[in-house]
Amino acid sequence: MADTARSSLTQSRPPFYRDVTVVKWVVQIFVLAVVIGSMFFLASEAGDNLRASNVPTDYDFLSVNPGIDLSEGIDRDPDTGGRALWVGMVNTLRMALAGIALATFVGVIIGLCRLSNNWLLNKIGSAYVELIRNVPLLVQILLYGSVFANLPRVTQSVGPISGWLHLSNKGLSVPRFHIADGFYQWAIVVMVGLVLANYVRKKRVGIQDLTGDDTRPIRSALLVLLGVSAVGWFVHPVFGFLNTPLRQISEGISLIPQAAVQVALAVVALALAVRWVIKFLDARRSPAGLAKLTDDDYFRIIFALAGALIMVFVVLILWPGLSSWLLNAVSDFFTVLSEKFGNGRSGRPLDVALPDVIQVGKFPNYGPSGLNLSIGFAAVFFGVVFYTAAFIAEIVRGGVLAVPRGQSEAANALGLRRWTVLRRVILPQAARNMLPPLGNQYLNLAKNTSLAIAVGYSDIVQVGQTVYNQTGKTLPVVSIWMLFYLSCSLTISVVVNFFNVRTKIVER
């Protein structure tokens, strides 16, 4: 019976051009071929055109002096193209990180305003969100920039609080806290303090669980940390001895041969792939045996192994420099770290410098000692902060509204105070809803800092544009941009995912 059924099935098998499996793979491979073919074609055209215009595509410009001055950053007059791009990256990252912090703060406040029962606050929140959200960011940045540029000129006694807070058409200058001599030695003490504080907190929580007393674990842990840090402020020179062991580590690493690292990287790549495949197969194995693998599963396995082999190829043959670069980077890192210890460092770990105004030549300008926010930085910074805050406010509002009303009712019935309800019941649950879209907004903020090009703040895009205008290496610069932004995106999604997994409801 079964046999006849099967034979009739095989007999009525459709011709190959109507066979689903065959057609499916033919179509896919055809499309893949078209995509790869057209990319290859475009690349070859670009190569021809570039050769015709005498602009070879290489990355030499990274080690050549570009002859450009940057408006701001850790190095205003970079020696090499690579250094210039690095300054741009640091500027972008600085803006993005500060922006994320402030935008979250403003956004949460506006979001809570929109949730408030108070009519006025509610309206202020709505007006803010609607106004900011519906005007393009670029227009806002340009507007802020032109408003800041029309502030009064710098004079020797510039306001509003002379000596502390200077505001002029050169930007904002405020006192700067900076890392001083003994910071790294002190950081060791603080780390010890952190470990101690954590120990105290756990202990206290244990007592609280046991006896039911309010032992205030967080408060005591903070006290311990503060105490240790305060003591460390004076005794940190003790850790100056770390200089020697760190230098020895650095020298030890530089002794490792390059081939060893290459082999190690190759082995790691292969091992990761094999481990992944084994896990993958394990997941498809039940007590009844291995489940039938679909085309898709085979595809994934082949993809993983091929990826590992490509990595091995890259590490061993295509780019051996990667391994020596890794070695040098790690060794340099320890050298730099060792120099932070000893050498008679006994000063304060942190210090503060007041802003100053200097006059070189005809016009006065801000000196280097204060923390100076240029007009460009301020325009982009406030632009992205206000803009993103409007979206974050909506996310906060949505997240809080998505918490079932029963939760707050139950908390009220327990007799908790309003603030406690918000802090202990509503916000933790809302945070779970808010995290994924919040991560998206952080990503958008990081990408939006690229609009700095419109007001001349030296972020990676602006520096990159200056570099390729000087050297003509457009394609390499664009590739560096893309790599940089893609790795930023990846980092932010990894961080957000980490918290997302942590806050997820554990399901059985």
């Binding site: 009519w119 029309n150 990503l443 664009v478 995106s489």
Partner: protein, 638 residues
């Protein structure tokens, strides 16, 4: 695609649900109770109110003093209004601009008449709006600081500390009499309505259409009576006559446009109740889709046809494709069969090979012939869906002939030189180019985004990897790098001898960028389609193309309408980046063209404020309108 969405909107356009059904009618309480409940409920609340109130007053006062400061050069914007809208479109051909606006107004009027889905608004709500608007205006009048005094030469008077001398508070209040009248009339009518009407009167509704049309009408009438001032720029001469009425060249077209809006709305209403409603809706949808092309290339660009070439080449080619294609399609649809499919696949092969040949320059062929071949292949692939009755087959042939007519006409038009007399390469600029780019981007990125979304959710691994990679890479990098990439790099990628205008490169970049985001929105919709729908489609024996096209996509798109509207608004806002890559959109006009005029050197903030206001009005009304539609149609709730 356009009709799909409109049909979704049209589901229950017949009945006029105004407000949310479950929303209780607010019982009127007296002002003191309202204040106590909403502003001064307890100490913390009172404190917040005071802090918030002070902050509001300070911010509002700062903004007012900034906007109405004696340093502001608003005449810069007034004089350059035309430049902001159309840049340097020649004066002699300006009628073309008005015709384009008229076409858009006609489409708006017809659509709102035909679909009539604006709903109604409660009188109570109108009263509240009137009161808030009136109160806000009066608050602004009180908060703005008195204006400075000018001497007889128009120079600001200054006291001994060189601070400007301001008029006294009372005379400032007196000099703002016009604003007092406006504020009091709004607030007063709102208040009167609120207290005159009893609770049944307040729950009465008026149509939303009239609440839009009446203020618009008032604005149009005010063009004829109110002294807005006459400002213009012609032949290098700035004309600024404050206190005059606007020129007739402004008031007459706007009056006609308003009347046209009224007429087309009435016409739409009239057609809606007749038998022609269905075909009229299709026509209006198609007109919306082709309007950017027709407006830009036919009306505004005014092609200068080379009639000898048209008769010798363009016309015969169009006729050839039209008639041969019709015969082939007619033959393909005679009965279901393997032959049709094999033939269609062969056609796809030929069409594809044509493009490969184009890339390597193997044999010359007009670009539109290649496009027509491709379209014929697509039509042949769709042919099995039109097999059967005579009416169906006729429909396919009609579609084919219409498409060929449009494609060949547009191709000829685009290839002809423009008659518009302008020195720069781009004949249009300002707001019009912004809207054009936004429209084309949305139109092109929609199909691409849907394809990418289907690819990402497909069971085919290679498609999935390709689409996922594309979407994630594009979403990981900022738009500006993509735009720079396209405006700088595209010339390098093209085969020698082929050129792409700067604007086309920009639109390509926008489309590719926007498609990735659109794909994610559509994917959300696709994932919300329940498994049962797929199974039911399979049980009916539909092919996978039919299942996707008729069962899955309509439901998915319906769910993703709200994020899609959000994407449309985002795309519109993103067009501001055109200014960075050197296209004269209206942001660039305000940011660099006006400040470089000798008469208005460095006057930038005024223009930027106006640009933000225009962006705000478009984006805000679109989002409010879409929210209204969503609420009324319950999109996303089913």
């Amino acid at each position: 695609m356009g009709s799909g969405i409109s049909d979704a909107f049209d589901m229950n356009a017949g009945d006029s649900i105004g407000e949310l059904p479950g929303k209780p009618v607010e019982v009127s309480s007296n002002p003191a109770e309202w204040l106590k409940k909403n502003l001064f409920a307890n100490i913390a609340n009172t404190l917040l109110t005071v802090v918030g109130g002070i902050a509001t007053v300070l911010v509002l006062r700062g903004v007012l003093n900034f906007v109405f400061s004696e340093e502001r050069r608003w005449d810069a914007v007034r004089t350059n209004l035309r430049a902001l809208m159309t840049l340097a479109y020649p004066e002699s051909q300006y009628a073309r601009i008005w015709v384009s606006v008229a076409v858009l107004v006609t489409l708006v009027g017809l659509s709102s008449g035909l679909w009539a889905n604006w709903g109604t608004i409660r009188v109570q709500r109108l009263c509240r709006w009137g009161m808030s608007l009136g109160g806000f205006i009066i608050l602004c009048i009180l908060l703005r600081e008195p204006s400075v005094l000018l001497d007889s030469n128009g120079i600001v008077l200054r006291d001994s500390f060189s601070e400007p001398v301001r008029e006294s508070f009372s005379s400032a209040m007196m000099s703002r009499s016009t604003w007092w009248i406006v504020g009091i009339s709004f607030g007063g009518s709102g208040l009167a309505g609120w207290y005159r009407l009893d609770s049944t009167g307040r729950t009465k509704t008026v149509s939303a259409t009239s609440t839009v049309l009446v203020p618009l009408g008032v604005l149009v009438v005010s063009l004829w009576v109110a002294p807005y001032g006459h400002y213009a720029y012609s032949d290098g001469l700035f004309i600024a006559e404050p206190g005059e009425r606007v020129a007739l060249s402004t008031s007459i077209p706007w009056t006609w446009l308003y009347l046209l809006l009224l007429a087309t709305m009435v016409l739409g209403r009239f057609v809606r109740n007749s038998d022609l409603a269905g075909i009229a809706k299709t026509l209006v949808n198609v007109s919306w889709v082709i309007s950017p092309f027709v407006l830009y290339w036919v009306i505004l660009r005014d092609p200068d046809f080379d009639y000898a070439h048209v008769v010798s080449t363009d016309l015969p080619m169009g006729l050839l494709f039209g008639f041969l294609g019709s015969i082939i399609l007619w033959w393909l649809t005679r009965s279901t069969g393997e032959t049709a499919r094999i033939f269609a696949v062969c056609l796809v092969g030929i069409a594809g090979f044509n493009w490969v040949a184009a890339a390597f320059g193997w044999y010359p062929m007009l670009q539109k012939a290649r496009i027509s071949f491709l379209l014929l292949a697509v039509a042949a692939l769709l042919a099995p869906n039109f097999v059967g009755e005579l009416a169906k087959r006729k429909k396919l042939v009609t579609y084919w002939l219409t498409t060929m007519l449009l494609v060949h006409y547009m191709a000829t038009t685009i290839n002809s030189p423009s008659t518009v007399d302008i020195s720069s390469s781009e004949f249009l600029g300002g707001l019009s180019i912004t809207l054009f780019v936004a429209a084309l981007t949305i139109m092109f990125s929609f199909p691409l985004g849907v394809l990418l979304a289907l690819g990402r959710t497909s069971k085919f691994p290679i498609f999935r990897v390709l689409s996922t990679g594309y979407i994630e890479i594009i979403r990981g990098v900022p738009l500006i790098t993509i735009l720079i990439f396209f405006s700088v790099m595209v010339p390098l990628f093209l085969p020698r001898g082929m050129e792409l205008a700067e604007l086309a490169a920009a639109i390509t970049g926008y489309t590719l960028f926007s498609a990735a985001y659109l794909a994610e929105n559509v994917r959300g919709g696709l994932q919300s389609v329940r498994n049962g729908q797929f199974e039911a489609a399979d049980a009916l024996g539909l092919t996978s193309v039919q299942r996707t096209g008729f069962i899955v996509l309509p439901q998915a798109l319906r769910v993703s309408i709200p994020p899609l509207v959000g994407q449309v608004i985002a795309t519109y806002k993103e067009t501001s980046l055109l200014a960075i890559i050197g296209i004269f959109d209206f942001l660039r006009v305000a940011n660099s063209a006006i400040p470089s005029q000798t008469a208005f050197l460095g006057v930038k903030r005024e223009g930027l404020l106006v640009v933000s206001a225009i962006y705000f009005i478009f984006a805000f009304t679109t989002s409010k309108y879409s929210q209204r539609l969503e609420r009324r149609l319950g999109v996303g709730e089913r």
